[in-house]
């Protein structure tokens, strides 16, 4: 599965990373190498192997439906790059 510059541009868009043309070229080469190495895994026969999502064999961790103190509005907004009337402000969405 060779990685193309188009793939890198698509992935950069999905990841919301603005990339220059030079970066696209560089990343295509570097990521291509890494993927080549990763494809070594293809040599292993894993047809009958169950995926392991958690190293721990745990299940059913639940908590009580009991209210705990929230942050104050000021604390919530304290690291906000731009805030207005108690909200986080963002530029236009459409």
């Amino acid at each position: 599965m060779a990685l193309s510059e188009k793939d890198v541009q698509y992935v950069a868009k999905l990841a919301r990373l603005e990339v220059t043309e030079q970066e696209v070229a560089k990343y295509t080469q570097q990521l291509g190498n890494i993927l080549g190495y990763i494809e070594e895994m293809g040599k292993l026969d894993t047809a009958n192997v169950e995926p392991l999502t958690h190293p721990l064999d745990m299940k059913n961790v639940f908590r009580e439906d009991a209210v705990k103190p929230s942050l104050t509005q000021a604390e919530v907004l304290s690291n906000g790059p731009e805030v207005q009337s108690g909200h986080f402000k963002v530029p236009k969405i459409m």
């Binding site: 009580e64 009991a66 209210v67 705990k68 103190p69 236009k92 969405i93």
Partner: protein
């Protein structure tokens, strides 16, 4: 090609906010309507380093929904991350369920003019809600023309169950019936407030059309932003017509999301916002799988309250109500409970039901009273039913008594006694009254004997008048007939 040549295929996705005390993954409260960003903590704000911990009550409510919709409850279930960017999503991913939902393979029966129909429920899974955005600045403060948006995360993290129907719905009426039935069920099992204005119940519709008699599904569009059942019905109707026009022109329906515009009564394309989303689902590594004990799952099923459809069926068989009556009385859980408690005190539950659906409902609406505001209890209403059934008062009198009951909470038996309203059913007294009226109205009598049988109503009315409405109208009628026919 005409609109009638097409068959609509509709699937509904309903998001139901669970009325747990706290959010899905943290202890912030779920109350609606408070000042922005005051019900937020590091976890639901998605601050770096924070981790989710599952609310056990939300799982319980979700399983109850599964049972109520006849679903299979998964023996192994897990949460997954749905990755996308939007400013109402603090972690830039939503914790939801992808391939192992908690509930699947269920159904919901609806009743329309055509009869009963079964609508499949594909799945009902657990996920967290996003925050709320207010679009401001620009021309109209709407999404498509705003300069900026403001984000409030109070709602972010509230537990949702997403209920997805099979595309079994074939009309806007069926869609409306489905939503009404679903809402009733959710209210009965007390898992949600189901308030569309507050956003605790939301609906998106997937709509496509195909030529009648064909099998292949057409291209579907997703309609969003309908915040009442009425709008859902209107939007679906509009969209079906719109797609028919497109296909008739020989063009193709574009697969896209469309917004229902309430001011223009149209669906509008959201194309500029949409690109095909690659959600990159993968299992949520910060949470562990849900493998519920079958005994626990069964306990929740057994503990479910009687659902609307079962209650309706029981009202028909147990109390002899018509399906229509049963439907009205079970439309709200409290109403059905009030009726059932009252049915104990009467030999005539149908009559009791009629009072509830007729005069009582009318007065409650006019005076804006709830069941909890009533000044009387079921026993007193049962008295009234008994008085009419025994012939003690007639139906016209009964209406008067009912008003006293409703407005003052007075006992009907007492009212009748104190007002001396007891219907006159003494045959001798009735005969005397009839004789008098017949004697006073020879022309009418002559008309009757001449063949105009309809005038008997006038004569009955005269007797009722003379008796101040207390005469037993049935007996009067019979007596007059007896006298005139002889």
């Amino acid at each position: 090609m005409a609109f009638e040549d097409y068959e609509p295929i509709i699937g509904l996705e309903v998001h139901c906010e669970l009325k747990t005390a706290t959010k899905l993954f943290c202890g912030c409260p779920t109350t609606f309507g408070n000042e922005a960003n005051t019900q937020v903590c590091p976890v639901c704000l998605g601050l770096p380093g924070t981790l989710p911990v599952m609310n056990g009550k939300a799982v319980e409510f979700a399983v109850k929904i599964g049972h109520a919709l006849n679903c299979t409850i998964a023996s192994y279930s897990k949460m997954d991350r749905k990755n996308y960017y939007y400013p109402d999503l603090p972690k830039a991913y939503q914790v939801s369920q992808y391939d192992k939902p908690l509930n699947y393979g269920g159904h919901l029966d609806i009743v329309t003019k055509e009869g009963t129909k079964r609508i499949g429920v594909t799945r009902a899974h657990l996920e967290e809600d996003a925050g709320k955005l207010v679009h401001a600045g620009g021309k109209s403060g709407r999404l498509d023309s705003s300069d900026y948006s403001l984000a409030d995360y109070n709602r972010g993290g509230i537990p949702l169950v997403e209920i997805v129907s099979e595309p079994d719905i074939r009309s806007s009426e069926e869609a409306h019936a489905y939503l009404t039935a679903l809402k009733s069920i959710l209210l009965y099992i007390a898992v949600s407030d189901c308030n569309m204005e507050e956003g605790s119940l939301r609906c998106d519709a997937n709509v496509s059309i195909r030529k009648k008699g064909t099998e292949k599904f057409g291209t579907r569009t997703e309609i969003k932003n309908m915040n009442s059942f009425k709008f859902v019905k209107q939007a679906i109707e509009y969209e079906i017509k719109r797609q028919a026009v497109v296909l008739d022109k020989g063009e193709r329906v574009v697969q896209e999301s469309r917004l229902w515009d309430v001011t223009e009564n149209k669906t509008k394309s959201m194309r500029s916002k949409e690109e095909a989303h690659d959600y990159r689902y993968f299992p949520e590594p910060d949470l562990v799988p849900i493998i519920l004990d079958p005994a626990y799952v069964q306990k929740l099923k057994v503990e479910l309250p009687e659902l609307p459809s079962a209650k309706r069926a029981r009202f028909v068989t147990e109390f002899g109500l018509t399906p229509y009556d049963a439907g009205v009385l079970t439309s709200e859980q409290e109403l059905g409970q009030w009726f059932e408690a009252g049915a104990k005190f009467t030999k005539n539950p149908k009559g009791f039901a009629n009072w509830m659906m007729g005069d009582m409902a009318a007065q409650m609406k006019e005076q804006e009273k709830e069941l909890t505001d009533l000044k009387f209890d079921q026993k007193k209403l049962a008295e009234l039913v008994e008085l009419v059934d025994a012939g003690t008062i007639n139906s016209k009198q009964a209406k008067e008594v009912f008003l006293e009951l409703f407005n003052e909470g007075a006992s009907p038996v007492e009212v009748v006694k104190s007002k001396g309203m007891a219907q006159v059913s003494d045959p001798k007294a009735i005969e005397d009254a009839v004789d008098k009226v017949l004697a006073e109205n020879p022309a009418v009598v002559a008309d009757y004997k001449g063949g105009k049988q309809g005038v008997i109503g006038f004569l009955v009315g005269k007797v009722m008048q003379a008796s101040q409405g207390k005469a037993n109208p049935k007996m009067v009628n019979e007596m007059i007939k007896k006298k005139l026919d002889s």
